[in-house]
């Protein structure tokens, strides 16, 4: 499949409700079936899908999807499929623990009043966790392919900025200013510092500023570790062997979001490999002849079947037009479509079925 050739990392990007998790799982399954050792990092999968992958049995650790389960689902597996579900409750604590240079610093940060209250709200914490995990697994070098299902977010690329945002948070001249000795442990740069400072105190409250200063002071010893990790993650995301795949649906809103995503990726010097469009209606028509239908079904049912057929033909025509517009915008990159299936995909045979559309062959079809 074009989208995964020469790829070690595949990031499935897209807005909410387009089928990203299913797509990521189906891509991983297909690649594993064809002989690669693959891990899919899922965010918040549907319970049944998670169960069929064996994911809820995990904490945050990757687990081999039982080959017997795959065989029972009629999927011939030449490689290995591993899966892990990112724990949404996992807090920033683990990051602090891994970067703190010593126990004293770690305890100082974890015990800080500000940190305790606000750590679960750290902007992009789930996004940051996803990036951390991806990097960590990549570095271990055990997998041929890592497929990442990105967290749901209004701005679908929040996760990309997570390492940089964190870095800006702790590595700036403003932070240095906070750490320099001065009035109440703080010092402002620039003219009018005294006045601005007192205004700031009046608005925010002196306690808050003092606690923030202590927090930043403890955190500063971890800057180097964070800086290096952020640099490494950014490098990984921009590597040639990393493929960004946009996942979308033919709904106009989704196409617009996909166009925005493309632009935002390009702003960050990241290319996207191709587009996967889910839930495509592709009835060919023409409308069935009334006489023929009536002969088979009787008048009343025939009328209703014809009306239903017309509705879906109209949808198919509009989906087709949407795909054409999308084609005009992706500069020759592959667009892979997955038809609208009557059943939600929530088990291995369902994933295999989606995979057969993604890979365009019978490798992953049920036996």
């Amino acid at each position: 499949m074009n989208l995964l050739e020469n790829t070690r990392v595949c990031v499935c990007a897209g807005s909410g409700g387009v089928g990203k998790t299913t797509t990521a799982a189906a891509l991983a399954l297909g690649a594993a079936a064809s002989g690669r050792k693959v891990v899919v990092i899922t965010i918040d999968p549907a319970r049944r899908l998670a169960e069929s992958l064996g994911v809820p049995e995990l904490g945050n650790e990757e687990l081999l999807v039982d080959p017997a389960r795959l065989e029972a689902a009629g999927i011939a597996m030449k490689g290995e499929l591993w899966a892990l579900m990112l724990d949404p409750k996992r807090t920033f604590d683990d990051v602090v623990r891994s970067y703190a240079p010593d126990e004293e610093t770690r305890e100082a940060v974890l015990g800080n009043r500000i940190y305790r209250e606000l750590s679960t709200a750290v902007a992009g914490s789930q996004e940051y966790m996803a990036m951390e995990r991806l990097y960590e697994l990549h570095e271990r070098g055990e997998f041929d392919l890592l497929v990442l299902d990105t967290p749901p977010s209004r701005n679908a690329l929040d996760f990309l900025d997570a390492p940089d945002r964190l870095l800006r948070f702790i590595d700036s001249r403003s932070l240095q200013a906070f750490l320099a000795p001065g009035r109440a442990g703080l010092r402002l740069l620039g003219a009018g510092a005294g006045v601005a400072m007192s205004v700031l105190e009046r608005i925010t409250g002196i306690d808050l500023l003092r606690d923030l200063a202590e927090f930043f002071s403890s955190f500063s010893s971890m800057v180097d570790g964070f800086r290096e990790r952020a640099r490494a993650v950014n490098e990984l995301l921009r590597a040639d062997a990393t493929a960004f795949v946009l996942v979308t649906t033919p709904r106009t809103g989704s196409l617009e979001e996909a166009a925005e995503l493309r632009e935002q990726l390009s702003d960050r010097d990241i290319d996207f490999r191709g587009v996967i469009v889910n839930r495509v209606h592709s009835l060919e028509g023409p409308e069935a002849g009334a006489g023929e239908l009536e002969g088979l079904l009787g008048t009343d049912l025939a009328r209703r079947v014809a009306a239903n057929h017309r509705d879906y033909l109209a949808l198919s025509a509009r989906d087709s037009a949407s795909l054409e517009r999308l084609g005009a915008e992706v500069g020759g990159r592959p667009i892979v479509t997955v038809p609208s299936l009557e059943d939600e995909v929530h088990d291995l045979p369902g994933l295999a079925r989606v995979g057969s559309y993604l890979f365009g062959d019978d490798q992953t079809g049920p036996a």
Binding site: V122, R168, A177, G190, L293, L301, R304, E342
Partner: protein, 311 residues
């Protein structure tokens, strides 16, 4: 009119892609038709509903744009909200400019986790106050409807004021956060509407949202809207007849029969999800699937008429 539209502030919440924006707009149209002055608040998005209802994007998204008689829309952005707040709090323009230029201040606001959420919900609170404390604006709204970000982020918005109230020590921020928190948590003033699609994940998330709301915010899901429900077009008996006729006739006939069988299966799956949602115990209203890739103005108006009829 049901109690849900008698609040001052309504949050429309749900999984991404379930149609929150359209449902929020439909609720707004319904309330406006009943004589209320309504503001539709989107959180830093694309003003899609505004474009659908008036045919073009607003020139300034942060202005309060009129969409229909009694219905206005705005987009809430933390940076604009901060500016409005500071201007209203600082005694002089000179001080305001000074603070704006202060790098420390910019850094604090950008870095403090949750500050963007606090500013967002602060602005939302402001629009729902009858005296419009930050802007002194002429427009006073009876009802503010928020098209909230997807579930987790929406909950973070609701929780932000209390977090700041508890963390900010003594001072203006703490008092302001406390005021916002009281308003947001008061079931007399604030209501929550959940939006779900007839699919497993959105229903699960809605049920979990209900629990999280009660546990963390002390609010109930006042109403759940199940969107895009496929109509019951074919009975089980029809399906049996269709299955029997499978494979017969020319290509268009076979396609029509397959499409009918697929529709029957999907409608049945949808009904299963509806039953799951109803079993959770909150009032549920359904909206039918619209057979179009995007909703037009008349679709949103039809939705609002249906909501009005059942509320």
């Amino acid at each position: 009119m049901s109690g849900i539209l008698d609040r001052r502030l309504l949050f429309v919440m749900g999984k991404g892609g379930t149609g929150k924006s359209s449902v929020a707009a439909a609720l707004g149209l319904a309330a406006a038709r009943h004589g209320r002055k309504v503001l539709l608040c989107e959180v830093a998005g694309q003003q899609r509903v505004t474009r659908t209802l008036v045919g073009h994007a607003p020139s300034d998204p942060y202005e309060e744009t009129k969409l229909a008689p009694g219905l206005w829309a705005t987009s809430v952005d933390p940076d604009s909200a901060l500016e409005e707040y500071l201007r209203s709090q600082l005694p002089s323009r000179a001080l305001f400019e000074l603070l704006k230029r202060s790098r420390i201040f910019q850094y604090l606001v950008a870095a403090a986790p949750g500050s963007r959420e606090l500013l967002t919900i602060g602005k939302i609170w402001e629009t729902a106050q009858l005296d419009r404390p930050w802007t002194g604006a002429q427009l006073r709204y009876d009802l503010v409807i928020v098209d909230a970000p997807a579930t987790g982020h929406g909950l973070a918005l609701l929780a932000a004021p209390r977090t700041f109230r508890d963390v900010a020590g003594v001072g203006r921020i703490q008092r302001q956060a406390g005021r916002i928190d009281s308003f947001v948590r008061d079931p007399e003033t604030t209501g929550v509407v959940g939006v779900a699609l007839p699919e497993e994940m959105p229903v699960t998330e809605t049920i979990e949202l209900g629990s999280a709301l009660e546990r963390d915010i002390g609010l109930e899901l006042g109403l759940v809207v199940m969107n895009a429900l496929d109509p019951d077009r074919f009975s089980d008996q029809d399906a049996a007849t269709l299955a029997g006729a499978r494979g017969a006739g020319g290509a268009p006939v076979r396609e029509a029969i397959e499409a009918a069988l697929a529709q029957h299966a999907r409608a049945a799956a949808h009904r299963e999800q509806l039953a799951r949602l109803e079993a959770a115990g909150r009032p549920v209203v359904t909206l039918p699937h619209v057979f179009a890739p995007e909703l037009a103005r008349e679709d949103i108006e039809a939705m609002s008429e249906r909501l009005e009829a059942v509320l």
